[in-house]
Amino acid sequence: MSASIESRRKFIKKMAMLSAMTAAATMFPGIIFAEEQESNIPNGNNLDWKKGPCRFCGVGCGILVGVENEKAVAVKGDPKCEVNKGLLCVKGYHQIMCIDAKDRLTHALVKKNGTYVKTPISEALDLVASKMKQTIEQHGKDSVAMYTSGQSTIPEGYVASKLMKGAIGTNNLDCNARLCMASAVAGFLTTFGADEPMGCYEDIDHADYFITWGNNMAEMHPVLFSRMLEQKNRRGAKIVDFATRTSRSSMAADKSILFEPQTDLAVANAICYEIINNGWVNKSFVEKHCNFSKGLTNMGYGTEDKFKFKDKPTGISFEEYKAFLEDYTPEKVAKYSKVSVKDIKYLANIYGDPNKKVVSYWCMGMNQHTRGTWINNLVYNIHLLTGKISQPGNGPFSLTGQPSACGTAREVGTFTHKLPKGVVMKEKHRRLAAKIWKVPYENIPAKPTYHATEMFRAVDRGDIKFIWTQVTNPMVSLPKVGRYTKGMEKESCFVVVSDVFPTPTSDVADVILPASWHIEKGGLYGNSERRTQHWEKMIDGPGETMDDAWMTIEIAKRMGYGDLFPYTKEGHVEEIYTEYRQFHEGSKHGMAPLEVLQKESGAIWPYVDGKSTQWRFNAEYDPACSNGEDFHFYGKPDGKAVIWQRPYEPAAESPDNDYPFWLNTGRVIEHWHTGSMTRRIPVLHKAMPHGYVELHPDDADNMSISNGEMVKIVSRRGSCTLPASINERGLPTRGQVFVPFFDENMMINDVTLDAFCPISKEPDYKKCAVKVEKV
C-alpha cells in the first residue's frame, strides 16, 4: 500500500515537472531567436564533438571540442558535465586557437655555439639522456632536478616521480604548484591530516552565504562565480567579498569588505573571538571532533638561502585558546586591519548563526602568503568552532589555480617530499611505492631536498647542474625572478625545457623539446573538487611534437630504466593510470576506474562501490567514516581535527618611507598565468593586450599620474615600467598598487620578493614594498 502511494506521489511530481518544462520551453526566447542571430554562423553539423576537461584553471569545466578533417575548429561547454553545466569562460571557448600560433615549437632545438639548431627529436633525447647520466656520474644523483607543473597530466607527473624518485633515486622533483597550492596542502595536513577539500561544488546550490577571502572569483574562477550569481538571483544567497582590492567580484557581491594586507590573520582570530564570546560555539561538535594545538611563532620568512624551519605542535586546552584570543577583540583588530568593528561582527554573525549555511572560498590571496599555512588553519578554525563543515552548503573550500594541481601535483605528489601515497619521510610509504614501482626500497631517499624557490637558488649556487622543466614557465612566474634567470643562464647548469611555445624559460635552455598541446595528447586531470577527468587524444600535433609523459619515458629508456617503464606509445596514458590507481586503493582515496572516466565527465574520489563521495568526513556520505559518530576526521590518528592557535605576524616587507606602497600581483580573466598560450589567442590578446599597474585615483592624483601614462615600479630587487590604469579593471586601496603578471614584456616578478611561508614554502606574491615613479 505504502509503495503505491509513494509511486503515485512520484508520478504527480513528474507530471508537474513535465508541464513546467513545456511551459518554459514555449517562453524561452533563445530557441526562437537562435535562427535569426546565428544565421551567419556555419552550423557545424559535420563536427565530431570530443569530450575532455578545459586546459586552463582548477575549476575543471567539461568541454566538447569540435573536430573536422583532423583539425579542432570549435569548443563548447559540455552540458552533461556537473561542474559547468554547459557554460565556459572566454578563455575556455577560444583555447584551441593557440595551437596554430606561428611560432609554435614543432621541432627540437639544441643550442650550439649560441644559436638554436633544429635537431631530430630522437637525437635531442639522446643528448638529454646522456647529459643527465653523465651529470649523475660526475656529481651525484642530487645534481639533477626536474621541475614540473600543476598543469602536467596525471601520467606526466607519475612517470616524472617514478623516474626521479624510483629509478634515479633523488628527491629533486618539485613543481610550480609550490607557488600556488602548497599552503593549502599544509593547511589541510595540519588541520585534518588529509589533503584536499571535504566538500564539492554542489555546496554552491545549498549555501546561504558565500564568503570569499582575498579571492577575485569573477575573473579567476568565473564559471563557479556564475553558479554563485545564479543562486544569488534565484534563492537570494549572499556573496560577501573580503579582500585587499576592489575587483569585479566586489562589484557583483552583496557586500565588499576591505582589509589591510596581512591582517586577515587577525580578522580571522577576531571572528573566532566573537564566536566564542557570544556563545555561538557548536559545543558537542567541538568536544567530539576537535583538539586544540599551538605551534612555533616568529617563524621567519625564508628570504635567505638554505633556510630551514620545522614546526613543533603542542596540545593546548580550550581555556588556553580562549585566553589567547583576548588579544583579538574586534576593537583591537579594527585598529590595524582597517576593517570596522561593525564589519568584523557582521562576518562573525554570519558564521555564528546556526541557521545560516556558509561556504568560505579562497585561492591565491590566502595561499601566496608568508603565513599561508596559518591563515588556512584559521579559516578552518571558524568552520570547526561552529561545526559548519562537511555538509551540503557548509564548509571551507580551498580553490585550486591549475587544472591538475590536485590531480597531479598533490595526488600523484610531484613535490620533493611526496610520493603517490604519503611522504618520503615515512618508511611505510616508501615501501609501498617501491613495491608498485618494482624498484629496490633503498632507491627512494628518505630526506626531501629542494622546494621550488630553493631549487632555483641551488641552480644559481651551482649545486644543481642539470634541470628539466615541463609544462611551466618559471622565468616569468618565480618571485624575484631576476636572480633565478641569471642562475639558469650560467654555464654550470644544463637546462632542458619542454614546452609548446617559446617563453623566457626556453630562452635560457640548452635543449628545447617540442611538446604536444592539451588535445594533441590523451591524459587525466584532477580539479578542485577531487574530480578526476579523462580525455583522449583528439588531433595530431604538428612536426615532431611529443607528449611530456612519453618524453620522460624515452629518457628513462635511454638511461637504462626501460624495464621500469614498459608502456606502449599508444596506450601509455591508460596503462600508467591503471598502475597509479593501485596507490590509492581503499575507501579513503579510491580512484574511479578508467572505464567510468571514459564514459562520464569525471568522478569524485573517494570513489567507492561505483559512487563518488561528495562530502568527506561526514558519515552520511562518506563510507570511510568508521567511528560510529556523525563525523569522523580520519586523516588524524585520533579521528579529530585540530583547531590551531596562530597569531598575527607582520609581512616580510611592509611599506616604509623609501618604499611607501604595497605591491599586489595577480591575474586577469583573459589570460592564463604567464600568457604563453592565451596571448597567442587573438580574441584574448585584443581584449587585454598588455600589462598595467592599477593605482588608487587619489594616489595617482597626488603624483599627477593620468590613466595610460607610463610609471616605474621600483623595489629593493628590481623595477618594471608599465602604463597606469586608473578606475579600470580594479581599484586597489590607497597606498597599494596592483599588477597582473601575465606580460613577459613587463616583468613584475623582477620586483617581487622571494619570501615564503616557512611551513609550506610557498612564496608571497601579494605583499612587498615598492615606490612609484613617473617616467
Binding site: N43, L88, A218, L229, T246, A252, D507
Partner: protein, 226 residues
C-alpha cells in the same frame, strides 16, 4: 522660607532653561554647517559595476514571453543614431520642454515597459544615474536639412559575425563607455530582436564576451628579446 524655596526653585529652573536653550541654539548653529569634503574612496569601478546593474531583473527577462508584434529591430535601433555609438535622438514629442529630463524621462526609460501611446516598449537606458538626459539626447523636429550634408554614416557592426569560432561566444563589437550595462539593451522586450540575449540570467556577461575594440597602442606582432 517656603516662599524663598519656591522662588529659588523657579529661578534655578529658569537658569537651567536659559542654559539648555543657549546650548542647543549654538549646537543648532554648528550643525547647520556641513563640511563638503570630497570622499573619493567610493568603491565604484565604472566599467565593472555597470555590468551587474540590472542583474536583479535578469530572471524576469529570462522568463518573459516574446511579444513579436511590438519588437524593435536593429535597423530601427541604428536609424535613430547619427552614427554607431552616437547618443540616440528622441523620436517622440516632449511634453515639457523646460526640464533636463530626469524624472520625466526616467519614468519610462529607467525600467522600460509598454507605452500604449506609442504602441511600443520603452527602451531602457544603460546609465540612469545621469539625469541630464537632454544634454545628449535631443528631439528631431524636422526631417529636412539646413544645407545638404555629405556625412557618411558608418555601417553598424553586424550580428552573427563576431565569433572567432563556431559556438564560441561573440566578442563585443562596439565601444562600451556609458553602455557598460549590457542587459539594458540586450535583454527585455525593448531589446532589438537580433541582439536580444538568449541567456540574460547569466548576468556576468564579460566572463565570456570580451571587447574586440579595446583602445590600446598596437605593439604589432610580439618579438622576443633575443
Amino acid at each position: 522660607m517656603k516662599r524663598a524655596g519656591i522662588i529659588s526653585l523657579f529661578v534655578i529652573l529658569f537658569i537651567a532653561f536659559i542654559t539648555v536653550w543657549n546650548y542647543s541654539y549654538y549646537q543648532g548653529l554648528e550643525e547647520a554647517y556641513i563640511p563638503t569634503t570630497y570622499d573619493s574612496s567610493s568603491l565604484i569601478i565604472p566599467s565593472e559595476e555597470g555590468v551587474f546593474k540590472r542583474s536583479k531583473f535578469a530572471l524576469e527577462y529570462a522568463k518573459m514571453p516574446i511579444d513579436a508584434t511590438h519588437e524593435r529591430s536593429l535597423a530601427t535601433y541604428y536609424k535613430n543614431r547619427a552614427f554607431p555609438g552616437a547618443p540616440p535622438s528622441i523620436p517622440h514629442e516632449i511634453q515639457q520642454d523646460g526640464t533636463i529630463g530626469e524624472n520625466s524621462c526616467l519614468k519610462c526609460h529607467e525600467n522600460g515597459g509598454f507605452v500604449d501611446k506609442y504602441n511600443a516598449y520603452s527602451p531602457v537606458t544603460p546609465h540612469p544615474e545621469m539625469v541630464n538626459c537632454r544634454q545628449c539626447h535631443v528631439e528631431q523636429k524636422t526631417t529636412g536639412n539646413f544645407k545638404e550634408n555629405y556625412f557618411a554614416k558608418n555601417n553598424p557592426p553586424k550580428v552573427g559575425v563576431n565569433n572567432a569560432l563556431i559556438t564560441s561566444p561573440p566578442m563585443i563589437p562596439h565601444q562600451i563607455q556609458m553602455r557598460e550595462n549590457c542587459l539594458s539593451c540586450h535583454a527585455g522586450p525593448s531589446a532589438p530582436k537580433e541582439i536580444r540575449v538568449t541567456h540574460p540570467e547569466r548576468v556576468n556577461c564579460r566572463q565570456c564576451h570580451v571587447p574586440s575594440t579595446i583602445e590600446a597602442t598596437d605593439n604589432g606582432i610580439f618579438k622576443r628579446g633575443n
